[in-house]
Symmetry: C3
Subunit: 309 residues, 3 copies
Amino acid sequence: MQLSTKHLLGIKDISPADISLILSTAAQFKEVLQRPIKKVPSLRDVTIVNLFYENSTRTRMSFELAEKRLSADTINFAISSSSASKGETLLDTVNNILSMKVDMVVMRHYASGAPHFLSRHIPAAIINAGDGINEHPTQALLDAFSIQEKLGSLPGKKVVLIGDIMHSRVALSNIHLLKKMGAEVMVAGPPTLIPKYIGEAFQVKVEYDLKKALAWCDVANVLRIQLERQNQVLFSSLREYNLAYGVSKKLLDSLGKDIVIMHPGPINRGVEIDSDVADGSQSIILHQVENGVAVRMAVLYLLAGHALD
Amino acid sequence: MQLSTKHLLGIKDISPADISLILSTAAQFKEVLQRPIKKVPSLRDVTIVNLFYENSTRTRMSFELAEKRLSADTINFAISSSSASKGETLLDTVNNILSMKVDMVVMRHYASGAPHFLSRHIPAAIINAGDGINEHPTQALLDAFSIQEKLGSLPGKKVVLIGDIMHSRVALSNIHLLKKMGAEVMVAGPPTLIPKYIGEAFQVKVEYDLKKALAWCDVANVLRIQLERQNQVLFSSLREYNLAYGVSKKLLDSLGKDIVIMHPGPINRGVEIDSDVADGSQSIILHQVENGVAVRMAVLYLLAGHALD
Amino acid sequence: MQLSTKHLLGIKDISPADISLILSTAAQFKEVLQRPIKKVPSLRDVTIVNLFYENSTRTRMSFELAEKRLSADTINFAISSSSASKGETLLDTVNNILSMKVDMVVMRHYASGAPHFLSRHIPAAIINAGDGINEHPTQALLDAFSIQEKLGSLPGKKVVLIGDIMHSRVALSNIHLLKKMGAEVMVAGPPTLIPKYIGEAFQVKVEYDLKKALAWCDVANVLRIQLERQNQVLFSSLREYNLAYGVSKKLLDSLGKDIVIMHPGPINRGVEIDSDVADGSQSIILHQVENGVAVRMAVLYLLAGHALD
């Protein structure tokens, strides 16, 4: 089986069949990761560059581990130690890298659409590891994998995304993926952080009351409030955000049912999620991280099939 | 033979038998490092993260080389390119890393006790590569290995630690180790840089006169003056420090005996040590660096025995 | 065949026979890089440190790829995460690294002559990856390789170097190499950026008129204007520089002949070179990048012969 796409730019443009193939391949790699010897020789002669124009811990590390467990050769290239400050265009940077016979590019960029632009100009396989406020497809894939693992399947499951929907690439990729795979989707948060058009545009429910949102759902995916770009205009303070939209044990206990708790990390404890929820029995947050490596191995492995043709 | 500990958090909490096992294992790895082929397959399926919350050249590089020569997979994670600035807790960061199936964590942190805290919450083996002003156990181990290599054994040897005893994790780890192994220990330096209680607390001699200290000892371990956090209150100037506590050729020649000169690096030539001493025939400074790789290989190898059980 | 030198410090001090040996060895490695499996086991037990005291994308990455394709173990050491800020001398830093049994040092330093100084004090093989405004020998070698590949040979070929000759280590290394190998060399640019003595000192032609320079040459190697250290005294503005010395399609079309276009990168499009020239059919800029990996493999491979003796 092969993907019908050469790149993974976003969830928006891939088919449900491709998503299913990635998820089932990830399940096989997850088995590999439980073994004492977690390494397979699949990409032994593939060279992959991790091109990060934005800081990242878990995503970069997750990709790097996925690459190493597939036996690929990896090169890290972070903006701070790069020529980007010298005024070179993105396309020139990448063309230079590819001239060195690199097979695949894992790329995070602060500009929405940067990997899409590149994919029209270069032959190598591109994996979007997050572009601006657009998409973060491998995060949505690992989230879907984790829901499926916990609840058995995606179709008909009710998933609410909570928080800053407006600026979240995780939210957008999740909405695309969950809708494609037949789940029901709601977005919840303060009106200032939810785009006005979103209900009609994506056929998702919109809810401004956190308790109602939680009462409706099977799964709550709690998004991170970006402290580093906290916008005073959008909500008044972290404390007020926590009071109105922080997911607390008390609130969950009041629902009379168990819902699955997810978070893409890094967590702000006491802001969007309380510690006893993040660490509680219904939380699958650390499974998401674990599954991330398996999902990324699957994406790299499947795209390499094209890259090496 | 196995270590009786799962982690290497500090010298304070490990037994003389564990120290002896590490030193004798290091001797075997030192032999390996003399061969044309310096690599052994011992940790071929082990993944190790180097988690550095403080800058470091030699310690990080020494660990990375030790890991590569044991054939481990290594991931580097430095604070500057990390999520730490995003407000994630240390425990969350490390739990995330471990969810990615990392077997061992080599960790340097600016907070004293950070690795000890972690060891109570995570299952992976932790190696402390320096925590605040507390301990730097692999440095003390390589120092002991180097003394033993030069003088044949540790029991009864007279070792003086010279300089900023107050803020030095190297000093504290050395005191613990040397006392446990039967050496005699003295600390020397200006009164402002030597904790008041230290003589009684650790059963070490205290000496404020450098010449007397050198006349007493077999080995002088000269500590680095931290230029980057030079505290004007503690001594008046680098020049005055050098006049009173700088180890010079002239001073050494006046002793009428040869003593072994050590320094954990990086050296401030002309401050705590003069160039003709650092480069002189009694200096084993570069042997310390060489032995550091062998000692770290031994620690990683022995702890992996537990980690892989 | 072996090189007659232990280090590659600059082109100035190596023989035409050594240059020929490097270029012919590079041709063999270029063949390797066209294969599906681009890796050879030649340096399997060699440890190489990439010691970069200046930012670099392509040079560091090109060396790292060359090392990995030769199966060497590599350690990266960049100034920002180093002890250099702690006041350690360059010689101490490198001696420390070598005590850890590193076989070869690839080094970029902001100070002209830094690798030459080191080579007089340390036993390991040193490869200069750029020192201040002095030399960048592997760049000149890959430029020569690329010219030879395009035009068949070097003797008698007319090469013009265009731009900031005064501050360019690429220009100096190119002049040395091209003269040694029998090519004719011209330098062109504004008088403020061309050293006064250069014609007599190096037996090169000097031309201040870009059109005349291009009319004379077979190959134009267009140098980068360093935006980050743009010196207002030396020329008035980037726009004026472009008008007088920017290589444009229109200008090339007016020559009535095809010349080969080169650039060491990163490119400032619209400053020293226009986009339709950089991307045009006569440009071999991306071949230069590709050849860089093969040339660096050759240098590392040939010097390792000495390093491992």
